[in-house]
């Protein structure tokens, strides 16, 4: 479980996050939604330690991340898997080497054990036949899969996914969503997904946090989302006529 308590962050004169308090549960896909510029990515970066918050705490199963020393932070970081919006695969390495990278750095395994583990992870995301290719030779969807395989290589306790569906076609988006959900349930990870994809939110949302103007504006699950009368939330999620119709259909309204 990850708890964020009273977290605030500003860059210069711009207050990006204000007093965010949220709990991200274990074994479920926690989604953070909000308009561009609402502070989603900054929140994720504060949680994983790429930004230091101006105030507030981030607790990883009770461990206050920003108050720990470098060695203790390193331990937590090795428990984190992250899928980036751009996949962030290392261009100079093959798919197999990308997945093996965290194992090489930290696992202390034999070479054959690392290859076995990496292949297992690639198999888990259905891309094992591409292990000799370089990232530039893969499609966007395949890169995301490899990114997920690398993120789960170390059996992470915490999985972060930044815009996992961006740039993907609807079918591949659904596959990636399902994969993230399966992995979360299978490994019992605390998963946080930063997303703009409302299809994904309505399909899989278990614990949704809506950020608006850098504040935690609304929390709930997909059912509560559909029924919510929060104006800002409705304006964001049901911005299109199609989504409004979908909402009416799902709520059983005429």
């Amino acid at each position: 479980m990850i708890e964020v308590i009273g977290l605030s962050k500003r860059f210069g004169s711009a207050q990006v996050l204000t007093d965010i308090t949220a709990t991200f549960a274990k074994g479920v896909v926690n989604q953070v939604i909000g308009k561009s510029g609402s502070g989603k990515s900054v929140l994720a970066k504060c949680i994983v330690g790429l930004h230091r918050p101006d105030s507030g705490r981030v607790l990883y199963d009770g461990r206050p991340f920003h108050e720990l020393d470098l060695g203790e932070k390193r331990v937590i970081r090795q428990e984190i898997g992250m899928l980036f919006q751009s996949s962030a695969l290392f261009d100079s390495m093959t798919v197999l080497d990308n997945v093996m990278f965290p194992l090489r750095m930290f696992a202390g395994m034999t070479a054959s054990a690392m290859v076995k583990r990496a292949r297992f992870c690639l198999e888990r995301v259905n891309i094992v036949d591409k292990d000799g290719l370089y990232p530039a030779e893969l499609s966007g969807g395949m890169q995301k899969r490899v990114g997920i395989a690398r993120a789960i290589a170390m059996n992470p306790k915490y999985l972060f996914c930044d815009e996992p569906n961006s740039g993907l076609d609807p079918q591949t988006s659904i596959l990636i969503d399902e994969l993230i959900k399966e992995i979360t349930e299978e490994y019992g990870t605390t998963t946080i997904v930063i997303t703009h994809d409302m299809n994904s939110v309505i399909e899989t949302g278990q614990n949704i946090l809506f950020l608006h103007t850098g504040r935690c504006w609304w929390t709930g699950d997909r059912k509560a989302l559909l029924a919510s009368e929060n104006e800002e939330l409705k304006a964001f999620v049901f911005a299109s006529e199609l989504m409004r119709q979908a909402r009416r259909g799902l709520l059983g309204e005429a």
């Binding site: 994983v48 330690g49 790429l50 932070k73 390193r74 331990v75 970081r77 090795q78 984190i80 992250m82 980036f84 919006q85 751009s86 962030a88 695969l89 290392f90 261009d91 990278f101 965290p102 090489r104 750095m105 930290f106 972060f160």
Partner: protein
Amino acid sequence: MNILFHIGRYFEFLGQVFGRPERTSLYGRRVLEEVDQLGVKSLGIVALLSVFMGAVITIQTASNIDAAWIPRYVVGFTARQSVILEFSPTIISLILAGKVGSNIAAEVGTMRVKEQIDALDIMGVNSASYLILPKIIAAMLINPFLIVISMFLSIFGGWTVSTLTGVVAPNDYIQGLQWDFDPFTVTYALIKTVVFAFVITSVAAYHGYHTKGGALEVGRSSTTAVVFSSVVILIANYLLTQVLLI
């Protein structure tokens, strides 16, 4: 104020680069890869420039020393001193600042904007050390070899032009090469080379590592890296010459 900010952040960055590495066993292979990337792949341009540089220095020296009372072997002597003291260590390092420096800044900058450095940081890897330290070590190891090769080829270029054009008799040229040779000049050149190698890699990496934005900013970092490393090389060249030769 801006320059002070960069100087402060550069030294902070060096602190990270020389911070505790994760797996030292992985660094050996990375250093060898960088030796190939930064050194071996620069051999062609260094060789080409050196041969022509030596030839031009010889022709210019010979055409400017035409007084009868100046012995002809002075051409070889001047060419040797110019090449060893300045042209090979400094000019070739400036060329490498352009080639290798822009390459490093672009590579590291692209890794930054494509979130690959963030990925390393989140994994708990000391990204500055993992990415940059092997480049610094590799350049400091391989550049002295490049410069020695450059010295040899420049002098060879001078000899070739003297043989082909007769601007100076080859025997006079060789006599000049051997006349009043002080081995410390080579030591001085190699000390400069090692310092310049550190400057090229660390300054370029600093600019790449702190890139923000996209492709445009990567290009800008690459240019800034070349300008800054060239300026720092020129300043270091003056200081080292003052300290080592005076």
